[in-house]
C-alpha cells in the first residue's frame, strides 16, 4: 500500500490542481492494473463492503491505545474523522508490511466472513504493521468515504494523460454499475468497445448559474425551458429493460416503479435526460419538491405514497436514439428526435416533455421569469440551440437562470462545530426570528461564509457561550445574518411552523442590530405568498 500512500501524501500535500493531476498520472503510469482499478474505484466513490462496525473499531482502538472509550469518543469530533482519530491514538507500529493496495482491499472485503474475534485479530495485526498514513488509509478502506481532494473530473484528466485516451471518452467509460470485482482495467478503461453494459449511463451535462444575460447575445440562438426542482435523472432503456440513474451515479430504478412500464413502449437504445418530479395529475402540473421528498430515501415505496406523489420523468434531452449516441448532434436536432419519441407514447405514460417556452426577446422572458414562484418553478434553463450535449459542469451552452432567492434577516442563537475540514470550527448555526420579545428558531444553515468569517465567528462563539448542550452551544443573541433560501413550506414539525429550502448565510449583517432582525410574522407572510 506504500505506493498508494505516497500518492495520497502527494495529493494531500498540495492545493494546486496541476500538481495533483501530475501525481495521479505518475501513479497511473506505474501502478499494477488491479491497484489502478481500485484507485479509480475509490476515487469515484466505490468501496468494498463494510465488514466490521465502527463501534467495534472504536473499542479496539481505545483498548490498543490504552485510553478509556469516552476519551476516544471525545477526541473523535475534534479530529472530525474516525479513521484519522484511530490512526492518531494508536501506538506506533512494531512491524511492517509490503502488501499492495489490492491485497489490503481483499482483506477488508473479506472481514465480514470472520467472527468478531477473528475480525479483531486481523484489524489489530493491520494496525500494528502499517505506518501512520497507511493505517489511516486502511481505516478509510474499512469505513468508506475516502475524500482526498480529487474530483472525478480531475482523476479522469490524469487518467487521460496516462493512457492517451480522450477525457470525455474516459468519463463515459467510468460511468455505471461496475466494481473492480466485475471488470478489469483493460475492459473498463482500455477496451475500444467495452463489454456492452445495458445499464451504462452517460455523464450528465451540468449548468452554471447565469452570470450576465447580456453575454448570451441574440435571443433567437437560445431556447428556454421552465426549471422545476426535482431529482435529476437519466433513464436508460436497452434490451427491453430500464435503468434509472441519479446525478450522483446512483442506480435508483427500484425507487420509481412508475417507470417499469416504459420499456413496453419506448424502443430499445433510448436514453432520456430529465427531472423526476412528483406530478399533480389532476392539474397536469408538478407538485412542489416537498411532495417528492419522502420518496428520495425509500427503496420500496408504499402504495399511499405512490398515489400521493406519483412520479413522472420530465424529459428535456435525448442522449441515445435508436441505439446511437447522439450527444454530438445539436440541441435542436436532439429535441426533434425527443419530440418524435414522446409522440409515440400513450397518454398515461409517466413522461412529460419539457416544452420550450416561446419568446421573441430577453425582456419578454425576464417578465415571464418573475412569475416563476407562482408556478412553483425555480426559473428558466437557457440552452443554445446549436449546442452538443457536453459532459460535466461546463460554461457556455447551458445556463440556469433562477429567480433571486428569498431573504430574511435572522439572529444566530445556537452554534455547533463542523466535521472533517471544518472540525474545530463553528460552522453549523441555528437562526431565529422575533416573535414579540422571543426569538423563535426557524432554520439551520451551514454554508455561505468564507473561511475567514467562520474563523471570526468561531472565536466569538467561544467567548459568548451561554450554555452547552452536548456539542451544541447556546450563544448570546447578537449577530444578525441574512439567510437566503429557495422556498418556504408549512411544517408542523418545526416550532416556527415553517421549513425552508436550501437555506444558507448570504451575508453577515455587521450593520444590523439584532432588534432589527425579521419577525415570525414576516416569515408567515412569505409563507402565504410563496408557500
Amino acid at each position: 500500500m506504500k505506493r498508494f500512500a505516497d500518492l495520497f501524501t502527494a495529493l494531500d500535500q498540495t492545493t494546486k490542481t496541476n500538481a495533483k493531476v501530475a501525481a495521479l498520472a505518475a501513479y497511473f503510469a506505474v501502478a499494477p492494473d488491479t491497484d489502478k482499478l481500485w484507485t479509480i474505484a475509490l476515487l469515484s466513490g466505490r468501496r468494498p463492503k463494510r465488514g466490521v462496525t465502527t463501534t467495534l473499531l472504536r473499542e479496539w482502538a481505545a483498548e490498543k491505545a490504552d485510553i478509556p472509550l469516552w476519551l476516544f469518543e471525545e477526541s473523535y469530533p475534534i479530529v472530525g474523522d474516525l479513521s484519522e482519530t484511530i490512526a492518531l491514538v494508536l501506538p506506533p507500529a512494531t512491524r511492517s508490511s509490503d502488501k499492495p493496495l489490492t491485497e489490503w482491499i481483499e482483506i477488508v472485503r473479506d472481514l465480514g466472513q470472520h467472527d468478531p474475534p477473528g475480525k479483531k485479530r486481523i484489524v489489530l495485526e493491520a494496525w500494528d504493521s502499517l505506518p501512520s498514513i497507511e493505517r489511516f488509509l486502511f481505516n478509510k478502506l474499512i469505513t468508506g468515504g475516502l475524500r482526498i481532494g480529487v474530483s472525478q473530473k480531475l482523476m479522469t484528466r490524469a487518467l487521460a494523460q496516462a493512457t492517451g485516451i480522450e477525457e470525455a471518452t474516459l468519463a463515459h467509460r467510468l460511468m455505471g454499475d461496475w466494481t473492480p470485482d466485475t471488470t478489469t482495467f483493460d475492459d473498463l478503461i482500455l477496451s475500444e468497445n467495452p463489454e456492452a453494459d445495458a445499464s451504462k449511463p452517460y455523464p450528465f451535462y451540468l449548468a452554471y448559474q447565469l452570470e450576465n444575460l447580456g453575454d448570451l447575445g441574440d435571443a433567437s440562438d437560445w431556447r428556454a425551458e421552465w426549471k422545476w426542482d426535482g431529482i435529476r435523472g437519466q433513464l436508460v432503456i436497452r434490451r427491453g429493460t430500464h435503468h434509472l440513474w441519479s446525478r450522483g451515479e446512483e442506480l435508483i430504478t427500484d425507487r420509481f416503479p412508475e417507470f417499469a412500464m416504459l420499456p413496453d413502449f419506448v424502443p430499445d437504445g433510448t436514453v432520456f435526460d430529465g427531472e423526476i418530479l412528483a406530478w399533480d395529475h389532476a392539474e397536469d402540473r408538478p407538485q412542489s419538491f416537498n411532495a417528492l421528498q419522502p420518496r428520495i430515501g425509500r427503496k420500496t415505496v408504499p402504495k399511499k405514497l405512490l398515489k400521493e406523489a406519483p412520479a413522472v420523468l420530465y424529459v428535456y434531452d435525448l442522449l441515445e436514439h435508436q441505439g446511437q449516441d447522439i450527444r454530438e448532434q445539436s440541441y435542436d436536432i436532439r429535441r426533434t428526435h425527443l419530440a418524435e419519441v414522446i409522440g409515440t407514447l400513450p397518454n398515461d405514460a409517466p413522461i412529460r416533455l419539457s416544452a420550450n417556452q416561446p419568446f421573441s426577446n430577453w425582456d419578454e422572458l425576464a417578465t415571464l421569469r418573475e412569475t416563476s414562484r407562482e408556478r412553483l418553478a425555480e426559473g428558466f434553463m437557457l440552452k443554445r440551440g446549436a449546442s452538443p450535449y457536453l459532459s460535466g459542469r461546463k460554461k457556455g451552452d447551458w445556463w440556469k437562470w433562477k429567480v433571486d432567492p428569498l431573504m430574511i434577516d435572522a439572529v444566530m442563537i445556537y452554534a455547533q462545530a463542523g466535521s472533517g475540514r471544518r472540525a474545530n470550527l463553528f460552522t453549523d448555526f441555528t437562526f431565529a426570528v422575533w416573535n414579540g420579545n422571543d426569538l423563535v428558531p426557524f432554520t439551520k444553515a451551514y454554508s455561505g461564509l468564507t473561511d475567514a468569517e467562520f474563523r471570526k465567528i468561531t472565536a466569538w462563539v467561544k467567548r459568548n457561550t451561554l450554555q452547552k448542550f452536548g456539542p451544541v452551544r447556546q450563544v448570546t443573541p447578537e449577530h444578525v445574518f441574512e439567510i437566503a433560501f429557495e422556498g418556504i413550506q408549512r411544517s408542523p414539525r418545526h416550532k416556527s411552523g415553517v421549513a425552508l429550502r436550501f437555506p444558507r448565510m448570504s451575508r453577515w449583517r455587521h450593520d444590523k442590530p439584532m432588534q432589527e432582525a425579521n419577525t415570525l410574522d414576516d416569515l408567515k407572510e412569505m409563507l402565504d405568498q410563496y408557500g
Binding site: D12, Q13, T14, T15, K16, A65, I67, P68, W70, L71, F72, E74, S75, I78, V79, G80, D81, E84, T85, L88, V89, G149, S419, G420, R421, R422, A423, N424, L425, D451, A452, R455, K456, T458, A459, W460, R463, H510
Partner: protein, 340 residues
C-alpha cells in the same frame, strides 16, 4: 489556598500578587511574553531576565523587575521562584511556597528541548496548574529532528524548483525555533517584520540566531530566489505573501503548528504542507510533566480542559477545571475589533 482563581487572574493572597492576570492589577508575576499571558496595565511586573526584553518590547514603558531562574524571593508571606518551562526563551513556571505548601503555576510549557528555550525542569509541588492546549491522546509530536528534516527537505525541493518556501509561525518562539534548527546552508532566509522585530530583541539579549533578511517594501525579492520566508500566520493569505510568487511561480506554503496534526485543520488552512511543531506539550508530555511534579491536586486552565481534567481524575488526581483567559496555541488570530 496558596493560589486562588479570581476574575482578574490567578491570585496569591499571602503575597498579594497575581500570575499572568488578564485585568490590570497592582503586582503581576509573568510566566512569559505571549500576549495572553503578559498584558498591558499592571503597576508592577516581575519576570525572568530572559523573558523581560520581549515583554518590554511589546508593552513599552512598564515598571518591570527581573529575576533569575531558581532564585527564591520573598513576597509578603509567599516564597516565590521561577523555573524553566521550555515554552519560549525566558518562559517560566512559577513556584509559590506558603507555610510549607508548594504550588506551581506553569503558564504554557513543553517538555522537549527545542534547542532554543531553557529546557523544561519538573518542580515538585502539592498543587500544579497546567495548560491542556493539546490535552487529548490524538496529539503526539514527532521528534524535533524529524520535523526539522521535513522542513529542510521541503525547502530544498522548492529551491530546486525555483520557488519560495513560505512558512507561517508564531512571531515569538516558533519562528526562532525554526531559525535555530534549520539547515541554513540551503539558502537565504527572509522574515516578516513582526518576526524580525522579535529576532532583533532576542539577538540583543545574546540568543544566537542565523542571519535573516527583513522583508520591507524595498526588498528586491528576486535577489533571494528560492529562499525560506518565515511569516506570521495572519500574513500567510494576504498580499504580503503573494508578492513572493503566484500562478506558475507560486510559492509553496506551510504552517508549523501542533494543530497541523489534524488533517482537517491543515486542509482548511489550504497550505501545501503542515509541519507538526508546537511549543506546547503533547498528550504524553502533559502526563509526564504532571507525574513528575508529584502533585496531588491539578488545576487545568486552558485547552481541552473538561476532557483532560476528567482523565486526570480517573488517574487518581484531585483535578479541576479553572476558567481563564489564556488561549494556548491558536492558528486563528482574530482581528479584535471584529470580535468585540
Amino acid at each position: 489556598m496558596v493560589l486562588e482563581f479570581k476574575p482578574k487572574g490567578i491570585y496569591c493572597p499571602a503575597g498579594d500578587f497575581y500570575i499572568d492576570p488578564w485585568k490590570p492589577v497592582e503586582r503581576a508575576l509573568i510566566t512569559h511574553g505571549h500576549a495572553d499571558h503578559s498584558r498591558w496595565g499592571m503597576k508592577h511586573y516581575l519576570a525572568t531576565e530572559a523573558a523581560t526584553p520581549v515583554i518590554k518590547h511589546r508593552l513599552g514603558d512598564i515598571n518591570i523587575e527581573t529575576i533569575s531562574y531558581a532564585t527564591a524571593r520573598q513576597i509578603g508571606d509567599a516564597k516565590v521562584s521561577f523555573h524553566p518551562a521550555g515554552h519560549v526563551p525566558g518562559s517560566a513556571q512559577i513556584r509559590i511556597e506558603v507555610g510549607g505548601e508548594v504550588w506551581v503555576a506553569s503558564g504554557d510549557y513543553k517538555t522537549v528541548d527545542d534547542g532554543l528555550s531553557e529546557p523544561f525542569e519538573p518542580v515538585k509541588c502539592h498543587a500544579f496548574i497546567t495548560e491542556s492546549t493539546f490535552g487529548l491522546p490524538v496529539f503526539k509530536w514527532d521528534r524535533q529532528e524529524d520535523v526539522i528534516a521535513g522542513i529542510n527537505a521541503w525547502w530544498q525541493a522548492n529551491r530546486e524548483a525555483g520557488r519560495f518556501s513560505i512558512i507561517g509561525a508564531y512571531a515569538l518562539g516558533k519562528a526562532q525555533r525554526i531559525l535555530a534548527n534549520i539547515d541554513t546552508s540551503i539558502g537565504p532566509i527572509l522574515t516578516h517584520g513582526a518576526i524580525e522585530n522579535t529576532n532583533a530583541v532576542l539577538r540583543a539579549q545574546g540568543i544566537a540566531l542565523p542571519d535573516t533578511v527583513r522583508v520591507t517594501p524595498d526588498t528586491n525579492i528576486k535577489d533571494h530566489a528560492g529562499g525560506l520566508v518565515i511569516a506570521t500566520p495572519s500574513a500567510m493569505n494576504g498580499p504580503w505573501a503573494r508578492k513572493f510568487g503566484t500562478g506558475a511561480s507560486a510559492t509553496s506554503t506551510a504552517f508549523a503548528s501542533g494543530w497541523m496534526a489534524m488533517r482537517g485543520v491543515r486542509r482548511r488552512r489550504s497550505a501545501d504542507r503542515g509541519f507538526v511543531m508546537s511549543d506546547h506539550a503533547d498528550w504524553e508530555g502533559l502526563n509526564t510533566a504532571i507525574r513528575a511534579t508529584g502533585a496531588e491536586r491539578v488545576f487545568v486552565t486552558h485547552g481541552y480542559t473538561q476532557q483532560f481534567s476528567r482523565w486526570l481524575g480517573e488517574q487518581g488526581y484531585d483535578a479541576a477545571v479553572v476558567e481563564t483567559e489564556f488561549e494556548g496555541e491558536s492558528l486563528d488570530q482574530v482581528d479584535p475589533e471584529v470580535v468585540a
